[in-house]
Symmetry: C2
Subunit: 580 residues, 2 copies
């Protein structure tokens, strides 16, 4: 059986950093070639970063991608990697417009280019807006084996190019991806990767991006399915990794270059199959290495790793070295602090306790204890004096008085950010953002909100998990027990607790999930068995908060799917599930 050693370079690219990304491709290709790999694959849009949104439209950026790609092909040859087949994603551009492309580099040349066929246009994706769709299907014969390439969404749609590759015949499908993390995403990916391999009648190697870009986190989890539909090798999640795997394949000696068109309402033209022979001779037989098999992370560890990755890459890719935010003594800021220390190290974290006249003694001591356990920087900056001037000069009462406390704190953090160069984090969780239990320009201030997509009940779970994980490793649990157990409170007026104005969090989170993430309306939730008045109240809160959040712009919006994009809704919108 013909053999081939393939290397999947699960790397962390950065949007717009063509120089850095190109260097990454050269370095990792050298490593792969040193490891004896014949084929090396990099993620979708590796040269440009992903997603690049409107940058697709800038011609000078497309030209820079093209130049970098050609230089890269030559550099790889000069690096002694010219014999390898290197598959790299990049921004393409031709008369039809921008393309989401995968080029095959060999012998110093760009030997073939595939343009993504299926352009997702839902959820976090805007590919159909940003790119023109491809119809070509290049297949290269490499060491006697026919290799086809597809990109990400191409395997998520039935009747796509993998089906076509199966019909014309290939020996190996390389699928390059920038597939964002969602909770338990592997439950969707694994069946898909294996099913497409069976359809292609060939092994399918799936290389995914790792790292974070703004609101998106990519988990890696690159994998290879056999032609029989079994995952035979897998990379770890949330870390850069070179997965080197030896494959044995049945070389088909295919010559077909036409695909019958798919039936259906859209009569797509037959795919245009291009077969190129790079290298007809099989590699001499060799002793294969054992196939690496990383274990996927259990749920809480996976979520924690995703949050750490999101925070670390946001801060570092944007050139910041340190972060600052309020240490309130509560659970949200405690979890953010533990995440920040895991992501950036304790010396990069600057906690600020900002007590007001309503702050309890335990808030101050829990905040100090948190900092002590984490070993991060900590300072106390009382806000009572600033608040008092506003309240007195403007005669503020009620909600206006509550909000000014949060806003004075937000401005204090921004001033420290200006003076010392820290990035400000917002510590709000998804539940309180969803129901509007948050002050615009107050606690919502920040460049990044680490737990904005984490419901309150999951915040508690993660805190428990992080503490017990520390204990298992013989370390000090980072989060003070009393921050976990005490009743949550914003402490903006005397004796306030969250449950003065909100339902219990365990019910609240389920209702919010149905309404915000799902497409459940009032009637659906009531028929699910929730109290009608409670549903009405929660939906009113969510609608009102969404309106306010859009009306007064701020960063920490609630998102649509785990780590996904913000719901794209009009500001002005009088539609209500229940009367306001």
């Amino acid at each position: 059986m013909p053999q081939l050693r393939i290397a999947l370079a699960q790397v962390n690219t950065c949007v717009g950093d063509i120089t850095g990304n190109t260097t990454l491709v050269r370095d990792w290709t050298r490593r792969a070639v040193q490891d004896g790999a014949h084929v090396v694959a990099f993620p979708e849009m590796a040269l440009s970063g992903y997603p690049i949104e409107d940058l697709t439209q800038r011609k000078s950026f497309a030209a820079a991608n093209r130049d970098a790609l050609e230089r890269l092909a030559a550099d790889l040859r000069d690096d002694g990697c010219g014999d390898a087949l290197v598959i790299v994603g990049h921004l393409g551009r031709d008369d039809e417009g921008p393309r989401n492309s995968a080029s095959l580099l060999h012998g110093g040349e760009v030997v073939a280019t595939y343009d993504k066929h299926h352009l997702p246009n839902y959820g976090v994706f805007d590919d159909a807006r940003n790119f023109a769709a491809g119809f070509d299907l290049p297949i290269v014969k490499f060491h006697g084996l026919d290799v086809g390439v597809v990109i990400c969404e191409d395997i998520w749609q039935n009747g796509g190019p993998v089906t076509a590759l199966g019909k014309v015949g290939v020996d190996l499908v390389m699928c390059i991806n920038a597939s964002p993390y969602e909770r338990a995403k592997a439950d969707q990916r694994v069946p898909l990767v294996t099913a497409r391999a069976v359809e292609a009648g060939a092994p399918l190697a799936y290389v995914n991006l790792v790292g974070a870009q703004d609101e998106l986190v990519f988990d890696g989890d690159s994998m290879i399915s056999s032609a029989a539909g079994e995952i035979i090798s897998r990379a770890p999640q949330f870390t850069e990794h070179l997965l080197v795997a030896d494959l044995e394949m049945a070389a088909g000696g295919y010559t077909s270059t036409t695909v019958p068109p798919e039936p259906g309402p859209m009569q797509l033209p037959a795919f245009d199959v291009h077969r190129t022979v790079l290298n007809p001779d099989p590699v001499p037989a060799y002793e294969p290495l054992p196939l690496p098999q990383a274990e996927p992370l259990p749920d809480a560890a996976e979520v924690w790793a995703a949050l750490v990755t999101g925070l670390r890459d946001y801060v570092h890719k944007n050139g910041a070295k340190s972060v600052t935010f309020g240490f309130s003594g509560g659970i949200d800021s405690a979890v953010c602090a533990a995440l920040a220390v895991d992501a950036l190290g304790p010396d990069a974290v600057h906690g600020v306790s900002m007590p007001s006249v309503y702050s309890s003694e335990h808030s101050r001591s829990d905040a100090a204890e948190l900092a002590r356990r984490l070993g991060c920087h900590f300072e106390v900056q009382p806000v009572a004096d600033m608040v008092e001037i506003y309240v007195r000069q403007l005669e503020l009462t009620g909600l206006a008085e509550e909000n000014i406390q949060a806003r004075v704190r937000g401005m204090l953090l921004m001033a420290l950010s200006n003076q010392h160069g820290h990035l400000v984090l917002a510590t709000g969780n998804k539940t309180e953002l969803a129901v509007g239990y948050s002050t615009i320009y107050g606690d919502a201030v920040g460049a990044f909100a680490p737990i904005k997509d984490v419901p309150k009940t999951l915040v508690w779970e993660l805190a428990e998990w992080r503490n017990s994980d520390a204990e298992k490793r013989g370390e000090i649990p980072p989060i003070p027990e009393s921050s976990i157990t005490k009743p949550p409170s914003a402490e903006l007026r005397p004796e306030q607790t969250d449950q003065d104005s909100l339902p219990e969090y365990d019910v609240l989170d389920v209702v919010i999930d149905g309404y915000v993430e799902g497409d459940k309306g009032y009637a659906d939730l009531v028929s699910d068995g929730f109290d009608a008045q409670l549903v009405e109240r929660v939906l009113q809160l969510v609608d009102r908060a969404e309106f306010k959040r859009r009306q007064y712009p701020l960063g920490t919006k609630i998102t649509f799917k785990a780590f996904g994009r913000d719901r794209r809704l009009p500001i002005t919108n009088r539609w209500r599930e229940v009367s306001p």
Copy 2:
């Protein structure tokens, strides 16, 4: 020649307000029928409002649209309007997904529905994301005339349904629209509307939405082209209007129901033509009314009207009654104040002078004079005390000291907003937002930024125009002359002027326009004759500001096209036209 009286109802709908929008359709249909109209057309998505973005996905909203449409048909009959053919845009939904639909109502029934074929996916539009495309082409015979319907983008694409209607034969094309205003948009629309009428071989009646939705402004400017390609009737801009026009047409007696497919790379299936006979008899001959012909507004008046419309509808549609913002004595806040008074009346405008230790005497007197001329509310709230505590407690210097002044003002306005219910406006112009001459959470605070898409040089032009327009009408010019003539300054440190850190505005605005609105890069701008160092400096400022603006979210982003959507770019993006 068969006659028909058509009424184009150029109305101002609101997103999500199905009840309000339906009432609007009933009221205006009654008016049109009283005026003797046989056909009444309403804008695109009139029942749901436009654009509705992710609301398209909510099934309960689609169901509410459907119910409202059917009830509307019955109500129109009960109102005595059952003999009229009423064309109304709404959200549709079927097995393929959400549709951007136009339904034809007659005799208490929905007699035909057209789903928009061409779904724009560029600029401010996300239709391809939000809707499934239609392929049907319903044609109804009404009073012996064959009437076809298309929606907005359908006329902007060559080879679209109007071409098809021309091939199968129609006597009248009704085109319903939600076409956003851009400066001099009529220069694009008029040639298009007339060319499509010629292609159809029939008059084309174009009814457009009027009013504003969030960042978009719709100018109306509904019009009718003759089959010969001449605009024979036209509605005024920026106001609700019923355009009633008598048309004479050649009835073709068409029976064709097949369209040859368009050649091209995408072999679309032949359009599915449905012909329905509602009413074979021509209307008895009558004396036609003269065709109304409104004049389009000249440039400055058009821009002013667009800004007033944008501000008024944002405030009113969101349920606010009054606005507050800083009166600095400068030109930007003066123009915003004049816009706000024109939009909302003087009693709804609450100006606040917030002098710091760096504020000049003329700033305070110009602000007071502005309020006096406009007759709006005005108060003075010094910020020196709040600023001083921050500066002293946090030992702030340099930029941190400058920014805290702007932020203390932002929080002061938000406190007044909380206490008194005013909506806060941000007064920044497009130039300063583009180059980052603005403080996040400071002067950028606000729910709406009336001039965020107006470059500084145009701010001055508009001020001059508004003053001279007032003089022409024998009114007091609203903007103090010294606010127009004095050198612009942020007054955040002693003797500061904008030109300490920025190039002259007349050059700056042209470079920004090329870089932000156009696709001009560094090389293009230098070859246009601009000084290389100046271009480098401006591009660095814009890139840096864009990054900061995205990193710390705020509302007043710069937009892509006049009154269009914010540029959709990643936050993390290391691509630079010139080295940073």
